[in-house]
């Protein structure tokens, strides 16, 4: 969850090769903490495929709501997202249903003709145990056209490389680094539920928080089934602007003072 009043700007990219055509897809994200229990996020997706084209593939708007007022062993968060993307979207922000490498191999000029207006919901369960962060996502997605419900999941664990901070300011301190592993994939649809003909990935992750600066994330995902891409790389950079409302008010009030002089 984002802290209330803070705005996080992030750019997350994924690169892989599908059908012999390497691609790079990215999602530009704006995440805002509305309340301590409510975070909202807006995404703009785009991709470029070698030998084909570069195109904008759509937008998403998601809201995360924390359910319980205090911490427990398991802390549920409800996630609701509206997606208006086209079939050429390759950001792979989630894998659901029977999503597979053959979907990503469709040429852009054909895939982009398919409009996907989808409602995605997740139950996110988070726990913090002895410095470890454990998160489980159960994903339910519905194309608002006449498509069956699709299911997916993601499980991740991560831990900072040190559980205590060092007294001095340092860029490469172990507490600034976080390592983990994620497993995610599809779980079929209402018509064919289960692991059969689904994509499954395992991905080690590394995160580096620069002091009072951006956070960098890297991960390499390895496909575990025939439907999956053999390998995909993710890279992300995010930067948080604290109390963005106050910062804007401050700018306006200083401009007002300047003009009053």
């Amino acid at each position: 969850m984002e802290e209330p009043g803070n705005l996080e700007l992030a750019l997350n990219g994924v690169t892989a090769s599908a059908g012999g055509h390497p691609f790079l897809a990215g999602a530009w994200e704006l995440e805002y903490g509305v309340k301590a229990w409510w975070t909202t996020e807006f995404y703009l997706d785009a991709q470029t495929t070698s030998g084909e084209s570069t195109l904008f593939t759509g937008f998403r708007w998601e809201n995360r709501l924390r359910v319980l007022p205090t911490e427990h062993w398991v802390n549920p968060v409800i996630y609701v997202e509206y997606e208006n993307i086209n079939g050429a979207d390759k950001t792979l922000l989630e894998v659901v249903g029977h999503d597979g490498k053959q979907d990503l191999a469709v040429p852009n000029n054909v895939a982009s003709l398919e409009q996907q207006r989808e409602l995605e919901t997740k139950l996110i369960l988070g726990s913090y145990v002895k410095g470890w962060t454990i998160a489980e996502n159960i994903i339910v997605e519905k194309n608002l056209a006449h498509e069956p419900w699709e299911f997916g999941y993601a499980v991740g664990v991560s831990r900072p490389l040190a559980l205590r901070a060092r007294p001095e300011r340092c860029t490469f301190c172990p507490e600034n680094w976080q390592a983990g592993v994620e497993v995610y994939g599809g779980l079929g649809t209402t018509e064919q539920f289960g692991f059969r003909d689904t994509s499954q990935y395992i991905a080690p992750t590394v995160e580096w928080q620069l002091p009072e600066g951006p956070t960098l994330k890297l991960s390499a995902g390895f496909g575990l089934t025939g439907q999956s891409l053999p390998v995909l790389f993710r890279v992300g950079v995010s930067y948080e602007i604290a109390q963005v409302g106050n910062a804007i008010k401050g700018l306006f009030s200083s401009a007002h003072r300047e003009s009053a002089r």
Partner: protein, 124 residues
């Protein structure tokens, strides 16, 4: 509407009222007694105070200010109330936050880092 549905709605309304009532009051005043008794397991030495200051600037200062003086909407932390609070009470507030007052949970930070922040807060 069946009697069972009415009972269900009544139970939900009562539960919401209890949750809201329980969440009123300043965060430090809502800390359970058992949580207040928890002792700080790390040394209150200068290294941990400095590490706590570093974490404070990263995690808390964006809202409470670099000098912990707060603003119109966010309370100050450099106060006698915080200095005199039991470390266990401060730890409970950091772990749970106070959602109705706009303070998020900091449970994602490892426990020792939260205690380092408390060492710093108690030194203000």
């Amino acid at each position: 509407m069946t009697r069972r549905s009415i009972h269900l709605v009544a139970v939900l309304l009562c539960s919401s009222a209890i949750v809201l009532a329980a969440s009123k009051g300043l965060p430090l005043q809502r800390v359970p007694i058992s949580a207040q008794q928890r002792a700080n397991p790390i040394d209150t030495n200068d290294d941990n105070r400095r590490a706590g200051r570093k974490l404070f600037l990263q995690e808390c200062a964006p809202c409470h200010g670099r000098e912990a003086l707060g603003n119109r909407r966010v309370p100050p932390l450099a106060t006698p109330m915080v200095r005199q609070a039991k470390p266990g009470a401060l730890f409970w507030v950091l772990r749970n936050g106070s959602l109705c007052h706009g303070m998020p949970s900091f449970a994602h930070l490892p426990e020792d880092m939260r205690w380092q922040i408390i060492v710093f807060l108690k030194s203000l």
